[in-house]
Assembly symmetry: C2
Amino acid sequence: MARPVEIDRDHAFRKARELFWRRGYRATSLNDLLDATGMGKGSFYAAFGSKEALFEATLDWYHESSAAARRKVNGSHAGLAALREFLDSTLIDVSDARRRRGCLLVNTVVELEGVEPGLHRVAKRYLQALEQRCLDYLNEARAAGDIRSHIETPQLAALTATLLQGLRVDSRMGRSRDSLQERVDAFLSLISNSSER
Amino acid sequence: MARPVEIDRDHAFRKARELFWRRGYRATSLNDLLDATGMGKGSFYAAFGSKEALFEATLDWYHESSAAARRKVNGSHAGLAALREFLDSTLIDVSDARRRRGCLLVNTVVELEGVEPGLHRVAKRYLQALEQRCLDYLNEARAAGDIRSHIETPQLAALTATLLQGLRVDSRMGRSRDSLQERVDAFLSLISNSSER
DNA sequence: CTTATTATGTACTGATCGGTACATAATGGA
DNA sequence: TCCATTATGTACCGATCAGTACATAATAAG
């Protein structure tokens, strides 16, 4: 009954994520987005409404798709090894030293605090969820007897989440994968019971 | 022989630092700077050359002035207590939850990577210097026998520096001073020999 | 083929950006 | 007082920003 849509939203989100991730929100212009996605201006505003709305939708899409990807990998390890696997996989995401992307959520929280309250809040919410993830892993590790420290698990989870944020800043500084791995190993051996690895 | 200068560079730097710190580089417009400093456009460009040049000069001035402030406080503690004092003083700087400033250097590195290479490099250089500071404190603590962990001191220093960066992101997220202090305490008790605090 | 409907590309808008040109104001030396 | 010199405020510049208006292209139903 009417002209069919040519837009591939998934493709657009992927391109938008890449741009926002590497250059941030304000330094990514609408033209950058149009060039990268191949969309015309009319289609863009028909599909997404505004640059701000696209960014928020991209954050949601990113959270969704990375959660989906995680569900596939999950489950092969137990105890502290599961936390280690989680931290390692974060490094892979984050530490391509040539791209220096850091973390989309950390970048956003840092860039947009006090400038774009709505977007800041969304990114902050997703970022905070990481602490709960850390807590889950640490509870499991504690139950498995892999944790040496007497510090309460919630405090350890908070510390772990903060460390993760720090690693993502390291990535943005261009530190190598090895350099980040070294930090993760040091942390794990601080809380670990055995002398693994 | 000519009209005298009315500019107070120190005052201008202080105002500029405040703006760049809270809103970042790109979200701080030239007009914001002129309003805050009370300067006219002519004077501004005569004194600083460009927005970019002002920002770089502000980074230098900030580094200089905070180093000077640090030299005054220094020396009252020894061993691990000195590291603790250092970390605590960082928290004071960073963790006014209402202002949510985070850290000027971390904010800059995160915002400007791939966007303003020159400014990114300057901020990165100053930020990297923190790791050396941590190393000095940790060496002293190690010598005093306050460190339990068998991890090499340089690795511990790297971990500490990364944790500091994470804390500064926490600040940008609006986490309370107490929340940050809790993380520092957890970390210190992980590496500490005694059961202090 | 005609037509209603919707997607798309493009010309345009007003605002704001950083930066410049330049006239004017303020000074100290003569 | 007059002038050389320098600081300052302001009008202006082109570029770019996000966003809008609208003519046109493409489709499917009839």
